[in-house]
């Protein structure tokens, strides 16, 4: 067990008082998982929760970003020395975390390069540092499941966000739920599990809003046909609506400009939050 004193840190450590929740998951999430992690982190940050994650690609980055969007403090528990950022593409994110009053922490000495075997140990540290772990999308054998396991051993809360039953990324999370992990639909569920509901819940989250509920379908018709999980191509939507693909493509672009849909490499999904995605 790592004592907090053994940690190398950058930024403000220890962080301000408040419950700490780790949000972890796949490095290659679906658009859905990424959106959930970001939204969840933002809502939790607004409620005064310190969002902890691992600065990795995918869910981790979405969680850090969400916490920053929510104006909160976020802590990155790293698998390398705190003097280097892995992956390098997250250098800017790491700076933002520190600038926003958060911290980068690591149990490894400065100069430690990314090593495969260091990451499971990091996951244990992460579990040790927080009060609850929320898993968003984890395929079988995912590192996020190690964090969940560690949290169980350390008697921390383990929660999981359900996903599509068609997606391999749901296997790990659904198994956790089956094994008794709390089911997370929104930030309120996490706060309830922390037992801190009364004080923090008052203002930022009322009225309760559910995740996964995008803009209303409206008269357009296209939004009603779009899923927020499984990307659909313009061709598939055109076929459903019996419209020429050129027109559907144009209308989708228009919705995309308004931030109502998001395009991914393989098709369109309904955007979970309004407003265009941060580049």
């Amino acid at each position: 067990m790592i004592e907090p004193a053994d940690l190398r840190t950058r930024g403000r450590w220890p962080p301000p008082e408040g419950p700490r929740v780790a949000i972890v998951g796949s490095r290659r999430p679906s658009p859905y998982g990424e959106a959930v992690a970001e939204q969840l982190a933002a809502d939790l940050a607004r409620a005064g929760v310190i969002v902890v994650s691992g600065l990795a690609l995918g869910i981790d980055a979405a969680a850090h970003r969400g916490a920053l969007v929510g104006g909160g403090v976020t802590v990155a528990v790293m698998g390398t020395g705190v003097d280097m950022v892995y992956p390098a593409a997250h250098g800017k994110l790491a700076e933002e975390i520190v600038a926003a009053g958060g911290a980068l922490v690591s149990q490894f000495p400065d100069g430690t390069a990314p090593r495969r075997h260091n990451f499971p140990a990091r996951n244990w540290t992460m579990a040790a540092l927080c009060d609850a772990v929320v898993v968003v999308e984890a395929a079988e054998g995912s590192g996020a499941l190690i964090t969940a396991e560690a949290a169980l051993e350390l008697h921390k809360e383990v929660l999981a966000v359900p996903g599509s039953v068609f997606s391999p990324l749901s296997v790990g999370t659904h198994q956790l739920i089956r094994d008794g992990a709390g089911l997370v639909q929104n930030a309120r569920d996490v706060l309830a599990a922390l037992g801190a509901t009364q004080e923090v819940l008052d203002d930022p989250l009322a009225p309760p809003r559910a995740l996964g509920f995008g803009p209303s379908p409206g008269p357009d018709g296209i939004l009603a046909h779009l899923s927020d999980v499984l990307p659909l191509s313009a061709a598939e939507i055109a076929r459903k609506l019996q419209l020429p693909v050129a027109e559907v493509l144009g209308r989708l672009t228009s919705l995309e400009l308004d931030g109502a849909v998001r395009r991914h490499h393989d098709g369109y999904v309904r955007a979970l939050r309004s407003g265009p995605r941060r580049a």
Partner: protein, 503 residues
């Protein structure tokens, strides 16, 4: 005794006339060949000597000097064999050849006249230089006869040529069957009717064909990217005579023109393997550069499958021809320019294993590998591609069902109409419009402009990307028969900019 015969030498598609002078003088028996002749031309001495003897003509047993003028132009290839032999024969006979006449051909040792490459290019060039009569190998007569206003004399062997020139026995000029005779054009091998589903890809193909836009298809293996690409020539209008001649010239240089029907009306389709070298793709070789794949696909389609597998320098070399429609290559033998105005269709997998984003199979690549792979596709080359679409695998039940989409014929009708509209308005296809002319000819309404600007701002579009989307919108409007670019045309054009999507 002095005589001369005209011929020509080629540098790419440039034709320079060459005068072959032969002088027979008293002195030691000798055969001198002067006038900056490359090795392949120097070898002509041996062929000419044998050909003359074996044709039953007498080779001068005196001092023979053959000069290739102008002396500062480098001469290559075997097409000077015939004029050299003719000038020697004429010098012996003390005659001059008919005026405005040129000779081309390689000699066999028995005096037969053999095929040479580039006869069409030479014939066109000689016609431009004012020649009226041309002697070519019989095998290449159809090719030379494509040129209007040129009397083509087919040469079977040296003896017949000399007899013709000395007035012993005339050779009948080649009667042109006329280019129009084989105008029907064979139907394209691939028809859109065989493409199941893929409405987005089909539409992108139609827009690409109508405006001459480059296209990138991105999708997992077996999604039908190659099939779509192969359908493109079939929805393009047939070549115009002028274009067909340009296409035939490149093939003529490479010696690839079929003898009987040298002029083809179908647009070229070239699909070089991703192992191709820069020289193979762009053109190259020792001495003077030969045309590469991009020139072979002039006025047609260049299909690059597995774009990310091509070597980076090879792809970089595509940039100049993509912008200018021509390529200049300098080698030791000089600099040549070849036409290379093609429609680029590139296909790529979304990741090294190909399955990223597939709804059923899962991708096994690391995020780093995907990022590296995508990076190879990004940057300057992608910036020059107007249309980028994702192609998804079609569900099996769609494949098994009867085809529901249109065939190539009606699509081609629309493409031809849209192209006619562009040519009437601006004299070129939309893809070739310069930004200044774009502003002048394809003005945007306030609403359309606002959409484009909002997108540009949100996605950080470059000026180039901005104009490209604008051009595609113009094509979308042309397919619609609309005078003005409407909002929906801009929106459609932006829908084909998959590259602006954050990965």
């Amino acid at each position: 005794m002095l005589a001369a015969a005209d011929s020509c030498t080629l540098a790419g598609l440039d034709v320079r006339s060459v005068e072959v002078q032969a002088d027979i003088a008293h002195g030691q028996t000798k055969f001198l060949l002067v006038g900056l002749a490359a090795t392949s031309v120097k070898e002509a001495r041996e062929r000419v000597r044998s050909a003359i003897k074996n044709s039953g003509l007498e080779f001068p047993g005196q001092r023979l000097t053959v000069n290739l003028a102008p002396a500062e132009v480098r001469k290559e290839g075997s097409r000077l064999d015939l004029p050299i032999a003719v000038s020697i024969a004429l010098a012996r006979a003390g005659k001059m050849p008919p005026p405005n006449t040129a000779f081309l051909g390689e000699l066999a040792l028995d005096g037969g006249v053999r095929h040479v490459d580039g006869v069409l290019v030479a014939a066109l060039g000689l016609r431009r230089l004012g020649y009226e009569r041309i002697f070519v190998p019989a095998a290449d007569a159809t090719e030379a006869a494509l040129v209007d206003g040129l009397v083509v004399t087919p040469c079977e062997n040296l003896r017949a040529v000399v007899n013709h020139l000395l007035g012993v026995e005339a050779i009948e000029p080649h009667v042109s069957t006329g280019a129009a005779a084989d105008l029907e054009g064979e139907p394209s091998e691939h028809d859109l009717v065989e493409v199941h589903g893929q409405e987005e890809g089909r539409r992108a193909l139609e827009v690409a064909a109508a405006g001459g836009h480059h296209l990138l298809l991105s999708g997992p293996p077996g999604a039908g990217k190659t099939m779509l690409a192969r359908c493109l020539p079939g929805i393009l209008p047939p070549l115009e005579l002028e274009e067909a001649l340009e296409v035939a010239q490149v093939r003529s240089l490479l010696g690839e023109l079929p003898g009987r029907h040298p002029l083809a009306w179908a647009r070229p389709f070239r699909a070089p393997h991703h192992g191709v070298s820069a020289a193979g793709l762009i053109g190259g070789g020792s001495g003077l550069a030969q045309p590469g794949e991009i020139s072979r696909s002039h006025h047609g389609v260049l299909f690059l499958d597995e774009l990310a597998e091509f070597q980076a320098p090879v792809l970089q070399a595509l940039r100049q021809p993509l912008e200018t429609g021509r390529v200049s290559i300098t080698r030791s033998g000089g600099s040549v320019t070849y036409p290379a105005r093609f429609t680029l269709v590139a296909a790529t997998n979304p990741c090294p294993c190909g399955w990223a984003g597939d709804p059923v199979r899962s991708c096994r690549c690391t995020p780093g590998a995907i990022a590296t792979y995508q990076r190879r596709l990004s940057g300057p080359l992608l910036d020059r591609i107007d249309l980028k679409v994702g192609v998804r695998r079609v569900k099996l039940e769609t494949l098994a069902s009867e085809p529901t989409g249109e065939g190539s014929a009606p699509v081609r009708e629309r493409v031809i109409a849209a192209r006619a509209r562009q040519l009437a308005r601006q004299g070129c296809l939309n893809a070739q419009l310069k930004p200044s002319r774009l502003r002048q000819l394809a003005g945007l309404e306030t609403a359309s402009r606002r959409v484009l600007e909002r997108w540009a701002e949100q996605r950080g579009l470059t000026a180039r990307g901005f104009h490209r989307a604008w051009r595609v919108a113009r094509t979308s409007a042309d397919l619609d028969g609309a005078e003005q670019i409407g909002e929906r045309h801009i929106l459609e054009a932006l829908g084909f900019r998959l590259q602006d999507v954050a990965a």
